[in-house]
Symmetry: C2
DNA sequence: TTAAGTATTATTGTCGACAATTATTCGGAA
DNA sequence: TTCCGAATAATTGTCGACAATAATACTTAA
């Protein structure tokens, strides 16, 4: 199942609904990464006029899932390794700062809530160890809670409203579930500890390491994957 | 005069042109911060249909200059002090990281170019000391060069394509030209030094301090301004 | 056969009108 | 007078058609 991000407001207009559908389709690769978007075709497929389709396309462009060129058309962004690494660099900067702000601005209730989640998360992990999926959901939940805890609208909008759609897209398309389950759990624990200690500096540092570790893990996986492909060809 | 940001591609379609005009108007306060946007009225003013106006509005929304609510309409974002501080927090995170990446990724030519700019900048400052305006332009030029030097599309797009429109808006509307002319120059020098030393860690740290100092300077100005207003009322 | 230029087709951009939703005004009852 | 509700007006969302631009196919000349 798809995890809705918490900043997304409920779709009211039909353009909103089509936007959400296309968002799913792009994130999960049903509309392939890098492919050109034909307005007439998609308008017909979703049974709407081109105007409302274009409205939906504008929102997709806003969260960096498609790119438009004037008088030429739209393409789905393509998932390159460079793009993935750039995304993680950006996450490191933004989520690191969000974590620092969370340590300063989170309410006590929010912190308790997060600790509760972590506990539940730990139990789930013990039960379904190896089953990556819930871990992934838990990971996203955790990150969302920290970001929202920053109480900084600018940060929240940039990360949840824009970056995380791309994050989910890369996770889907590169098949990167279940990264470092147990280590991630420990790292989450440390971060929550720093936040409840109101230690912004440490919180930022730990979050940055957490994301950097995730990035390096991905780099390794990709390198390993390339190696396997190389061997298969022989 | 208005300083175009370097990532903005030349306007080709009429929606683009209207977008640019409205962008100016909003940044400079001709369309007041916080005011509601009437689609029929603006379409008439710019002599275009509502469709192309809405296209322009979508781009304004993309760079966070207006906000839309379904079935209700658009408003120009309002410039609050909290918003300004949140913006600077975000800048600190993103530009700090951009600066680190610039230290790693900038070409030698780019570095030379930036050093040349700094030198010219210093002479201008000596000549027109006290005249804030050129200083401001120089400041933006410097920041743009560092950001572009990161060679990270994600960072470049987020900062130049989105944040900096808001930065310019706040600068205009709060009348914050000429902040800390001589100190800023020294800070810029140090940053360039760190970049040419390829010391990413130091470069990030210095850029973060530079922006944080700017933020604190603004906080002081606002506090002082409030104090003056309080005295005037007596 | 290849290359360039032109004609054709298809796609995107723009327009004005209608439908659906929200805001406002007006009237009546407490 | 004040508050609530219905009718009206205004605004936003959606639609289909036309205009302008880009991509494709075809023709012709070297």
């Amino acid at each position: 199942m798809y995890l809705a991000n918490p900043t997304q407001q409920t779709a009211v207009t039909t353009a909103d609904k089509v936007f959400e559908q296309m968002q799913h389709a792009i994130v999960e690769g049903d509309i392939p990464s890098g492919s050109k978007i034909s307005e007439p075709e998609l308008a017909k497929r979703y049974q709407i006029s081109r105007s409302t389709l274009r409205e939906a396309l504008n929102r997709l462009e806003k969260c960096h899932l498609i790119e438009r060129k004037a008088n030429v058309g739209s393409r789905v962004v393509d998932c390159s390794i460079e793009g993935l690494l750039e995304l993680y660099i950006t996450r490191e900067a933004l989520e690191g700062m969000a974590c620092r702000q969370a340590a300063l601005n989170m309410s006590d209730e929010e912190i308790v809530d997060m600790q509760t989640m972590l506990k539940a998360h730990g139990q789930t992990q013990e039960l379904k160890d190896g089953i990556a999926y819930y871990q992934e959901e838990g990971d996203l939940d955790f990150h969302y809670k920290v970001i929202l805890g920053s109480h900084n609208k600018q940060l929240i909008d940039l990360i949840c409203g824009q970056l995380y759609h791309l994050v989910r897209m890369y996770r889907c398309q590169f098949g990167m579930n279940s990264p470092r389950a147990s280590r991630a759990f420990n790292e989450h624990s440390q971060i929550i500890q720093a936040i409840s200690d109101r230690d912004g500096e440490l919180a930022e540092m730990l979050m940055r390491r957490h994301i950097a570790a995730s990035r390096k893990n991905i780099e390794n996986k990709i390198a390993q994957q390339n190696l396997t492909e190389l061997n298969d060809r022989k």
